[in-house]
Symmetry: D2
Subunit: 246 residues, 4 copies
């Protein structure tokens, strides 16, 4: 039986890559994004530094693409592939716009990326997470499914109708799954990332010293969630810079 | 210039009909549901008892159908039709199911009914609500847009992933719109209906004396929201039977 | 048997006086504040305009004073005095201060005014509210106990440690009482007043047109809460100016 | 300059002792409880196993006692004693009682133990936490102040008026302090411990396999909070058994 793996959806240069690096210290990792150019650098980096990573081009909003991804996992790790940790870090596009200027397409796309994407991802990974429990008397850590949220997961600000609706939806899914799968031994958690992440794209933004979230700290928090025993599951954490106004 | 109207989407025998009756005491009402057989009885009742009501067959999840509905409003009430109150009381189908048995179709349908439906409805009615303000120095009450939510709007219970995601999304939309349109003078509110409504379908359910919500009381609460002046808007109320466990 | 009364604690020129006027249209009202000079004008106004009001000098933070108040009610309205509505609108002093400059006395005083005060008030009025149910087969409206909260009831802002702790505490009490006494037929509700109230003291503050809450609108909301039937109790409403940022 | 210390208030056999053990791996620990018999065993255990611990008999509800405790810290660790982590794990007595049977004394005692106690503790420890920042260019981890909450911190259940009011108050204090001191570099966090802790007193309670929270897992979570860098502070985590209903 092959080693359990970690699956991370959404592996841009911020949270996703940091989470991939962190979990790759303990598990082979499968990194998903639509475009191989997104995961190629981090896959190469992990493999070079002694870890094991593969990238699978996946559109999480498309159930067929997600099913094909699972097939690739089985080719790679065996039909009995087991998952120790799955992290949903993908998102619909960020939209901030007067409500009456929002188009139907924007709403649909926000649904596809955040709510439908997380649905497809959870449907694909939960059987693999459960499989770890069925096949191992005591995995070192309970199988874990983590969803990355945002400020808009808990606050529907003006001009955020398209974005916040689907972040709220993602949070509802995480909460419902935590209640359904916690008793079965799967740890489902949701993180409210409340701030700007320190990545190349935000390098120029001046938010003051310490004003941007170090993605490695998010990865550490996710790892901590993963290591919680089944008697002490956290459903939700918030993460923000100490200097953030909230 | 014709009298401002009230528009109510979702007019089954419970909340929708009660709201229609209540608002028909002050405004001509336009009642929307997919199937005329749903609105026909209440349209007839209102017209017979001295009010004015029309029914418009509308699928709120379909933007074309919602646009056609607006065209019908203009035919009926003039191109300058103004809206005093709009109530979104429609919903995707209620689904309670183990997550891994949920289909993609169920998720999509839940999105269409609750989130997309409320989006289409708000996009169609907000211009008419704003139009009331533009055309009247002081309407007796601020134009009002109310969304009907449920327990699942604030709690993602086990087995409720499809339903709760989209009820959370609806709530996010209501909150975002309240923040965007409140400063413009439109009152946007959200009601968490936390309990079983007393309607023919639930007649047999034994929930104890007073265990079901009287839909007329919901209508009274919505009317109270509508009468709040612009200095005292309520964004959210919860409504439940006094004997309800929560 | 005498008519059921309304009891209002905290009757300054804003919310308290407006609530007194509103409830005095239907009930004899007993108005409580430490200093008769606070209630005298509104007592006189109500009696002059055809209502019935008495003032009782009461320190809600002092259980003896609250018990003495109940004795006065019995002298005035009979030993079987029944209460239709009780509104706790008192508060500890508003304090906004760096935490390390807060004194023990300030904390104790905030406790006394908000948490202990609401405890004493609820202990004194709940028996009178229950008495209405015991003595009347169907009162026109369920006996109602309303607590006035603030933004600080749901948000612990920086520099608000003394004020927010006790507003959170007040909200917890309201919630616990709603769950305990709702099934018995008493409606317990909490209002989050999120904004500046339009009173003489705030007259000079420029918050823009419509930027201050009309206290009469709060009174209307409280009256609406009181009229809700036992199948449709609202536990919490928020009230804020439409132009408020939140 | 002496090594920074950790201070833990409330060191019974559950969370407090586990937190003490965990933080003693990195810091000298000062353990506070009213009765030396509470901290003696864990002080002895830590000192025996290579750590450094002292116990200080302290009544956190009494500001004089808390000030005397600080004096003892200065005697022990020098006038420039610095604090790396402070954990408030004390609590007023747990009370579950019909509201009308609650006495004033119970309310006062709940205030003293939870709200006043946390106030005194925060007033005493924040200067020592800030002192670490003033005296060290880069402590390995930001100074951290953690408050232990409970289910009753976020839910005011029936019969919990005395307990929940003060747990809500504690949470408000934690939130207010997080907002005031986060920007200064002190990490303030609040943990909602939502379940029964596995301690000698609860040994007999049958809550199913995995139904009680391992206090060591709480300690691990607190340590993780302590290690978060200042760009990624968590304000609140919840912790509960995977099989818990919530």
């Amino acid at each position: 039986m092959s080693k359990p793996i970690a699956i991370i959806a959404g592996v841009g240069p911020g949270t996703g890559a940091a989470v991939a690096r962190k979990f790759a210290l303990s598990y082979p990792v499968a990194l998903l994004s639509r475009n191989p150019s997104t995961y190629d650098p981090i896959v190469a980096e992990i493999n070079k530094s002694g870890g094991k990573a593969i990238g699978i081009s996946t559109d999480v909003s498309d159930s067929k693409s997600v099913k094909a991804m699972v097939e690739k996992l089985k080719e790679e790790y065996g039909n009995d592939v087991r998952c120790a940790a799955a992290v949903f870090n993908a998102s619909g596009a960020f939209v901030r716009k007067p409500f009456l200027e929002l188009t139907e397409e924007v709403m649909d796309s926000s649904y596809a990326g955040s709510a439908k994407g997380s649905f497809n991802f959870a449907q694909a990974t939960l059987p693999l997470l459960l499989h770890l429990l069925a096949s191992t008397s005591t995995p070192p850590h309970p199988p874990t499914l983590i969803f990355t949220g945002a400020t808009a997961s808990v606050k529907g600000s003006a001009l955020f109708a398209a974005f916040a609706t689907m972040k709220f939806a993602l949070r509802a899914m995480a909460q419902s799954l935590a209640r359904e799968f916690g008793p079965k031994g799967v740890h489902v958690a949701h993180a409210v990332i409340d701030g700007v992440i320190d990545i190349p794209r935000t390098k120029e933004w001046d938010l003051g010293e310490g004003g941007k979230i170090d993605p490695n700290a998010i990865a550490d928090a996710y790892w901590h969630l993963h290591t919680q025993p089944k008697t002490a599951f956290t459903w939700e954490i918030d993460i923000r810079p100490g200097i953030e106004k909230w």
